[in-house]
Symmetry: C2
Subunit: 174 residues, 2 copies
């Protein structure tokens, strides 16, 4: 694990735990175990570091969503939350904290959510054997809701979403 990877990993942890704006560079250098000179050589700036963190997060998150059924989608979310916990979608949080200023961040968020939405549509199509945009939107809402309700409801929220998605999918099948 090289310097950059260590930095990105530490930054993702701190941004997620304390928020993007509230996390200072001192805390980042301490957690990454490197001098600020090295941090800036690798990351460029705090905004670029946020971009890199979101890019890495997108990669790791989307990798887990490579499934072929709606039920497996929610099983994947259940795994994610069990392993990584959840304090709400890190992309929406980044967008909210930067308030639409920082166009690079806004674009990273937009790109991630588009990819996410496309993947949900693909999973629904694979499960049903045909496209169903309405069901896809419902599944997307359930997923987003599970991720956010889980912040205060825990795994129960994911179970409820999974059950609801199963009911709606079964109904769409017939």
């Amino acid at each position: 694990m090289d310097t950059t990877d260590k930095l990105i990993a530490a930054a993702e942890r701190l941004f997620d735990r304390y928020g993007f704006v509230a996390t200072g560079m001192d805390r980042l250098t301490a957690a990454a175990g490197m001098s600020s000179r090295t941090l800036y050589k690798h990351a460029g700036s705090k905004t670029q570091l946020m971009e890199r963190v979101l890019s890495e997060r997108d990669r790791r998150f989307m990798a887990r969503l490579r499934v072929r059924s709606v039920d497996a989608l929610f099983a994947a979310l259940d795994d994610w939350i069990r392993i990584e916990g959840t304090r709400g979608c890190l992309f929406l949080r980044a967008a909210a904290e930067t308030g639409g200023d920082a166009p690079e961040i806004a674009e990273a968020v937009r790109a991630h959510k588009t990819a996410f939405q496309d993947q949900v549509a693909r999973i629904v199509a694979a499960d049903l054997g045909r496209e169903d945009p309405d069901l896809a939107e419902q599944v997307l809402v359930l997923f987003e809701g599970a991720a956010h309700a889980a912040v205060y409801r825990g795994a129960d929220a994911v179970r409820a979403a999974r059950k609801a998605a199963s009911t709606l999918t079964e109904r769409a099948r017939s």
Copy 2:
């Protein structure tokens, strides 16, 4: 509208738009149209101002959820988003930005989410004529999901959630 009300209203707008941490006191005094001396006399501190904003938000939001059917619940969310827009739940955002430090904020969020959850359960019970904790959890997840998916999907997310909730409620009725 007295000084305090003007302050709380301006602060809610700015916190929602730019984030809690990123919004400085200078911006707040400018938007509220008062000196920092007056602001501190009325608010005490930035943390206390956040508490007051969340308290006022809770009051206004919960007032809109005084309905007796699941469908009316999502109609209320649709109204809210149409009037106030949505950048994600302000309570979850406050909790995420303060990272669990600031116990007063964490407590305000916990209290709001408990009240919200109770109200959803009450609405589901009124709609069905009996309690149904599983359906209540599903409706809660759909509501939370609609509020967050609407950030990037707009009113479509609310419509999808409303339809899904209607389907699930109808199923629970029979």
